[in-house]
């Protein structure tokens, strides 16, 4: 199970261990954490919610895209859901590759794709109110009311 949604705190080492292999010369690990201040606004805590079955499928799709694009790559991703406090770990992405440059690139690709296609939502509980966050790409999400084919493939 290299791609998981977890209701518990993420064991970072366990995610890394999934991509360890003899051919690998590099493992990059991205750890996404809960930040207290966003443009001056103070977060008290967050709730993450997922469409779990589909989210796991879409994480697997990202893994497959990466393995196709960067040869000899192994990927593991765990995203947490539920209530997270400031500094808690929300997501861990581990990528192993034969050489380091690919490892950095592939890991970056994984987090950007998560923000595009994986059905996980964040509800910010601010000092003064709460709000479901829209996409964090700071784009108008689907002006035609539906995704373009290229967004999903």
């Amino acid at each position: 199970m290299n791609f998981e949604i977890s209701k518990e705190a993420i064991d970072i080492q366990a995610v890394i261990d999934k991509v360890v292999e003899r051919e690998a010369g590099a493992i990059t690990t991205f750890i996404g954490t809960v930040r207290e201040l966003t443009k001056g606004k103070r977060t008290l805590f967050l709730i993450y919610e997922a469409y779990e079955a589909m989210a796991v499928k879409k994480l697997e799709q990202i893994g497959a895209e990466i393995e196709e694009r960067w040869q000899g790559t192994k990927v593991a991703i765990t995203h947490r859901v539920g209530r997270l406090e400031i500094t808690d770990v929300a997501v861990v992405i581990a990528v192993s590759t034969p050489h380091r440059a690919d490892s950095y690139e592939a890991n970056r690709y994984a987090i950007e794709r998560i923000k595009e296609i994986v059905p996980i939502w964040k509800k910010e509980h601010w000092e003064n109110g709460e709000e479901w966050m829209g996409n964090q790409l700071e784009t108008v999400a689907y002006p035609k009311g539906e995704p373009e084919e290229k967004d999903l493939k």
Binding site: K115, P119, W121, M133, E146
Partner: protein, 77 residues
Amino acid sequence: MNKVMFFAHLRDAVGKEFLLVEAAGKTVAELKAEMAGTYRLEKMDTVMTAINEEFAMNDEIIRDEDVIAFIPPVSGG
């Protein structure tokens, strides 16, 4: 019969995780418009749809037993 699932702000608006409706023969766009009208759902122009856990386009036709999910802009990571 079709299961229609809601997430994030849509779930708050509908007040339920899912509804059971007869949607066979309708397009994604038709079902979306119907739900938006009934439950006064906001920002539906930015909401994607999944059929059986795969993203679907607005002109796709829903079949009996398909599981439909309305997917607001995602914000994981």
